[in-house]
C-alpha cells in the first residue's frame, strides 16, 4: 500500500508498469514514497499540528474545565467572538489564539499535497506563508498603519515566495492554487478586522497559564505517545487521509451525538492522578520485565535442550501448553499464600506489593510456552545442511549453537518473546487483583467504586502500553534479524 514512484521523474506511477507514463523512461526499479521518506522535523511538526487541531474543537482544551461550568471550545469562541466580553477574551491564553493557525494549516496541507504529491514535504514553507498571512501581517498593520503595513507585508511575502519558490510551483491544481494563496492574503485582512490580532499582540503580558502542571505533562506525553503510534502505522498518503477522515468523523460524531465532555473525565483523571499513573506504569513494566528475563533465561536453554531429546520435548511442550489453559487469575490466587511469605525476605521486590512475587513467577511460567515452543521450532528448522557444513568444518557443539543456530533462530525466538511480552502485559494487568499493583489497579478500583473515569483511564493506559511495547519489540526484532534473513512481510 505504498505509492510507487518513478525513479527518474519522481511522479506517481501505477504499480506494475514497464514504462513511466510521465517521462517515458524504462522502469527498472521502483522506489516507494512513504511518510518515512520525509524529514523528521516535518513529520513531528505535522502531527503536532494535528493534535492541536483536534484540541481546537475540544471545550476542555486547553484550560482547566474543572473550574468552568459551561465552557466553549476555542472554535465556538472564535465563532462568537464579537458577542463575548473583552475580558473573557483577555483571559485566553496564547494557545487558544494560535489555534486559528493550525486550522488553516490543515487546509494548506491539503493544498500542498494536491500540488506536489508526496515527494517532499513542502508543507513547511507554505505553512510559514500562512502564519505570516494570519499572524504577522495583521501585526504589521496594527504596528505601522495600513499603508505601510501593506508594503511591509508584500515585501515579507515576496521574500517567502522567492525563497521557497519550488513550493509555490504550479501543481495539480494549476491556477486554482494561486487563487487560494490570494484568498489567504485576504483572510489576513479579515482577522485584522476581527480585532483579535490587536488583542492578541497587545495584551501579551496578560495571558495566564493557570492549569496544573500535571495537565500539561499529560497532554504532552499523550501527544508524543499517539505520535509514535500513528507514525508507526501510517505509511502512505492514503493512510493519512484515512486517519484525517476518521478524526473528522469522530469529532463531528461525538460533538453531535455524544456528550462532548465525556472524554474529559478520563483526561482529567490522568491529569489529577498523574503521579500515581506513572508509578503504576513503572510497576507494571517492572513486573513484566523481571518475569520476561527469568522466562528467557530458563525458556531458551530449555528449548535448546529439548531439541536433542524427543521424550523431554513431548513432556515439556505438553506441560507448557497445559500451563496456558489455566486461567491466569487462578494461578495468581494459587500462588499467593505460598509465596507472599517469601516476599518479605526478598529485597528486590520489596515495596512493589504483596502480590508482586506470585505475579512475577506466574508470568514467568506463562511466558514459557511461547518462548520454549518458538525456540524449539526455530532451532529444529535451521537447515540441517548448514549444521552439517559447520560440523564438517570442525565446530564444537557449543560453537555451532552460538555461531549458527542461535543467530539463525533469533528472529523466531524474538517473535516468541514478543508474544510473551504482549501476553504478560495483559496478564500482569490482572495481577492487580492480588495486590501486585500495576495499571490493572485503576480498573479494579474503578469497577469496585463505579468510577468510570478510573476504569477508562486504566484501560487506555494498558492499551497504550501494549501497543507501544509491540512497536518497540517489532523494532528490536528487526534489529536482531541477521541482515541475510530479513523476511519481507
Amino acid at each position: 500500500m505504498e505509492i510507487a514512484i518513478c525513479p527518474h521523474c519522481k511522479k506517481e506511477i501505477p504499480e506494475d508498469v514497464k514504462f513511466c507514463p510521465h517521462c517515458s523512461s524504462a522502469v527498472t526499479s521502483v522506489s516507494y514514497a512513504t511518510i518515512f521518506s520525509w524529514r523528521w522535523a516535518d513529520k513531528i511538526f505535522l502531527f503536532t499540528v494535528i493534535l492541536i487541531f483536534i484540541g481546537f474543537f475540544q471545550p476542555w482544551f486547553p484550560g482547566s474545565i474543572l473550574d468552568q461550568e459551561d465552557s466553549l471550545s476555542a472554535f465556538q469562541m472564535l465563532l462568537n467572538v464579537n458577542n463575548l466580553e473583552i475580558d473573557f477574551l483577555e483571559s485566553y491564553n496564547i494557545l487558544r489564539m494560535a489555534l486559528i493557525v493550525p486550522i488553516f494549516a490543515m487546509l494548506i496541507y491539503l493544498l500542498a499535497y494536491l500540488r506536489t504529491g508526496m515527494q517532499k514535504s513542502e508543507f513547511l514553507p507554505i505553512f510559514l506563508f500562512i502564519i505570516a498571512c494570519i499572524s504577522i501581517f495583521p501585526f504589521f498593520f496594527s504596528l505601522v498603519g495600513i499603508f505601510f503595513g501593506i508594503i511591509l507585508s508584500v515585501v515579507f511575502l515576496g521574500g517567502i515566495i522567492f525563497y521557497f519558490k519550488s513550493a509555490f510551483r504550479k501543481g495539480r491544481l494549476g491556477y486554482a492554487s494561486y487563487f487560494l494563496i490570494l484568498f489567504f492574503i485576504c483572510l489576513s485582512g479579515f482577522i485584522y478586522q476581527l480585532d483579535l490580532a490587536q488583542t492578541f499582540y497587545l495584551k501579551l503580558e496578560e495571558f495566564n497559564f493557570s492549569e496544573t502542571y500535571g495537565f500539561w505533562i499529560t497532554w504532552f506525553i499523550f501527544g508524543i505517545l499517539i505520535l509514535v503510534i500513528v507514525l508507526n502505522f501510517m505509511k502512505t498518503a492514503e493512510d493519512f487521509w484515512l486517519m484525517l477522515g476518521g478524526m473528522a468523523f469522530s469529532i463531528v460524531g461525538y460533538h453531535t451525538f455524544i456528550n462532548p465532555l465525556f472524554i474529559s473525565g478520563p483526561f482529567a483523571f490522568f491529569a489529577d492522578n498523574f503521579r500515581m499513573v506513572g508509578i503504576q506504569t513503572a510497576t507494571h513494566i517492572k513486573i513484566v520485565a523481571i518475569a520476561l528475563v527469568i522466562a528467557i533465561f530458563t525458556g531458551v536453554p530449555l528449548g535448546i535442550y529439548i531439541t536433542r531429546n524427543k521424550t523431554a520435548a513431548d513432556i515439556v511442550l505438553y506441560l507448557a501448553s497445559i500451563m496456558i489453559t489455566i486461567p491466569s487469575i487462578a494461578l495468581f490466587g494459587f500462588m499467593m499464600p505460598i509465596l507472599s511469605s517469601i516476599d518479605r525476605v526478598l529485597d528486590a521486590v520489596n515495596g512493589i506489593g504483596i502480590g508482586a512475587v506470585p505475579a512475577v513467577i506466574a508470568l514467568a511460567l506463562y511466558s514459557q510456552l511461547p518462548i520454549i515452543r518458538n525456540t524449539y521450532i526455530a532451532i529444529r528448522n535451521v537447515d540441517p545442511a548448514t549444521i552439517e557444513a559447520g560440523r564438517g568444518m570442525g565446530m564444537t557443539n557449543f560453537q555451532l549453537l552460538i555461531q549458527l543456530q542461535l543467530p539463525l533462530s533469533a528472529p523466531v525466538i524474538m517473535a516468541g518473546v514478543r508474544t510473551a511480552v504482549i501476553m504478560s502485559i495483559a496478564i500482569a494487568a490482572i495481577a492487580a487483583y492480588i495486590g501486585a499493583g500495576g495499571l490493572g489497579l485503576f480498573v479494579s478500583e474503578g469497577l469496585q467504586m463505579a468510577t468510570n473515569d478510573s476504569v477508562i483511564a486504566g484501560a487506555i493506559s494498558m492499551g497504550l502500553l501494549a501497543i507501544l511495547a509491540d512497536i518497540f519489540l517489532g523494532r528490536v526484532e528487526n534489529w536482531i534479524t541477521p541482515t541475510g534473513l530479513k523476511i519481507k512481510r
Binding site: I13, P14, V17, K18, F19, P21, S24
Partner: protein, 369 residues
C-alpha cells in the same frame, strides 16, 4: 472440417506501456481438429495471444472468432467453459479428489451424475491412469507427470471444441516429457480437438503441431506446417530459430515409407539356391531378401551364403535385424542403416511383410526436394 478458430488483426497493448505492442496484428486461421503450436523466443507474446482467446487478457483491437462467433460478444464465463484450459503448473485443486477435479466443469454445467461418472472414467482411461486406482486420490499424492495428465483430462472433461495449452509439458522432466508428448499425440488421434499449444521449444512445436505459428516481438513471422517451416523458412530469423540442423530435423517428421524404394526384388524361401545366384548376378545385387509365402521377412542371402550346399534358399538365409516398420521416422531409419552390416534397411509393415528398402540415396533425395 471448417475453420474453428480465427484470429484477425488481434493486437494487445498494455495501458501504461503504450509504445510497445505485446501482440501486433496477429492473424491466422486454424482448422477443426488441428493443433497449432505458438512458438517463439521469450517475451514474443505467445502466452498473451493464447490468453486472449479465452479472454483472460482483454483484446485491445482485432477480432477472434470461434466457430464464426466473435468471442467479445459471448458471455465470458460461458466462453471459458467451452474452452479447455491447461497451464504449465497444472493448477489441480488440492482440496478435491482427482475425480472431483475432472468433474468440476461438467458439474457446473449441470450434467447429471451418471454422465459425469462415465466421463471421468473414460477420460482417465484415455490418459492411461486406471480409473479405480486414481479416482479417489488427491493431487498431492501424484507425481508431476501424472498430475499433468490429469490436467489434460480436466481440460477435456466438458467436451470443449477448443483447447488452450500453455507449455503443458514444461514442468516435467525430459524423460517423461517425450513420453507424455507421444501419449498426447495418441490421444489427439482419437479425439481430434482443435488445440492451441504454446511452447518455447521449437522441437516440441515441430513434433506436436499441425501448424506452427512463429512469433517475434508480438508479430507473426511465419504460419506454416512443420514441413514448410523447415524447408522454406520465411527469413533469417526463422532459419536461426529453427536451428542450423533444420534439414536433419525433418528426419523426425518424415517416415521411412516416403523415402523407400518400393517392391524390392525378393526370393521365396522355398526356391532353389541356384535361382538366387542367378538373380544376384542378373540384378547386380550384393544381397537378396528372402521371404515366405506371405512375403514376410525371413532373412537375406549373399554370395558367400550361396557357396553352401542347401536344398532351399530358406536354409542358408541369414536372419537380420536391419528392418523397421514403415511408420518409423527417417531419423531412426538413418540410424539403423549405419548400425547394421547390410548397408541398407528393409522396410516392413506391422506383419513384417516386406514393403521396400531404404537407402541413403533415397533419404538424400527426399530431403533435397
Amino acid at each position: 472440417m471448417g475453420i474453428m478458430l480465427s484470429l484477425q488483426e488481434v493486437t494487445k497493448i498494455y495501458p501504461g506501456a503504450e509504445h510497445i505492442k505485446a501482440v501486433d496484428s496477429l492473424s491466422f486461421d486454424l482448422e477443426e481438429g488441428e493443433i497449432c503450436t505458438l512458438v517463439g523466443p521469450s517475451g514474443c507474446g505467445k502466452t498473451t495471444a493464447m490468453k486472449m482467446i479465452n479472454r483472460l487478457i482483454p483484446i485491445t483491437s482485432g477480432k477472434i472468432l470461434i466457430d464464426d462467433q466473435n468471442i467479445n460478444r459471448m458471455d465470458t464465463i460461458e466462453l471459458r467453459r467451452s474452452i479447455g484450459y491447461v497451464i504449465q503448473n497444472i493448477g489441480l485443486f488440492p482440496n478435491m479428489t482427482i475425480a472431483e477435479n475432472i468433474a468440476t466443469i461438467p458439474k457446473l454445467k449441470g450434467w447429471d451424475h451418471d454422465r459425469i461418472a462415465e466421463k471421468v472414467e473414460s477420460l482417465l482411461e484415455i490418459v492411461n491412469l486406471p480409473a479405480e486406482e486414481f479416482m479417489g486420490r488427491y493431487p498431492r499424492e501424484l507425481s508431476g507427470g501424472q498430475q499433468q495428465r490429469i490436467g489434460v483430462a480436466r481440460g477435456m472433461a466438458a467436451d470443449p471444441p477448443i483447447m488452450l495449452m500453455d507449455e503443458p509439458f514444461g514442468a516435467i522432466d525430459p524423460i517423461n516429457r517425450e513420453h507424455l508428448q507421444d501419449e498426447f499425440l495418441k490421444i489427439q488421434a482419437k479425439v481430434k480437438k482443435t488445440i492451441v499449444f504454446v511452447t518455447h521449444d521449437i522441437d516440441e512445436a515441430i513434433k506436436m503441431g499441425d501448424k506452427i505459428c512463429l512469433l517475434k516481438d508480438g508479430k507473426l513471422v511465419q504460419f506454416a506446417s512443420p514441413e514448410e517451416l523447415l524447408t522454406e523458412p520465411a527469413n533469417g530469423f526463422v532459419r536461426d530459430f529453427v536451428g542450423g540442423d533444420r534439414t536433419l530435423k525433418r528426419l523426425n517428421l518424415l517416415t521411412i515409407k516416403t523415402a523407400m524404394n518400393p517392391d524390392p526384388p525378393v526370393i521365396m524361401q522355398n526356391e532353389l539356391p541356384e535361382k538366387a545366384k542367378s538373380m544376384l548376378s542378373e540384378l547386380k545385387l550384393d544381397h537378396l531378401i528372402v521371404v515366405d509365402n506371405e512375403k514376410r521377412l525371413i532373412g537375406y542371402v549373399d554370395q558367400e551364403a550361396l557357396t553352401k550346399k542347401a536344398d532351399e534358399v530358406g536354409d542358408i538365409a541369414q536372419s537380420t535385424e536391419a528392418f523397421l516398420p514403415a511408420s518409423s521416422s527417417l531419423k531412426d531409419g538413418l540410424s539403423e542403416i549405419f548400425t547394421y552390416e547390410l548397408g541398407y534397411l528393409i522396410v516392413v509393415d506391422e506383419d513384417k511383410k516386406v514393403l521396400g528398402t531404404l537407402r541413403e540415396e533415397g533419404i538424400k533425395n527426399i530431403l533435397r526436394r
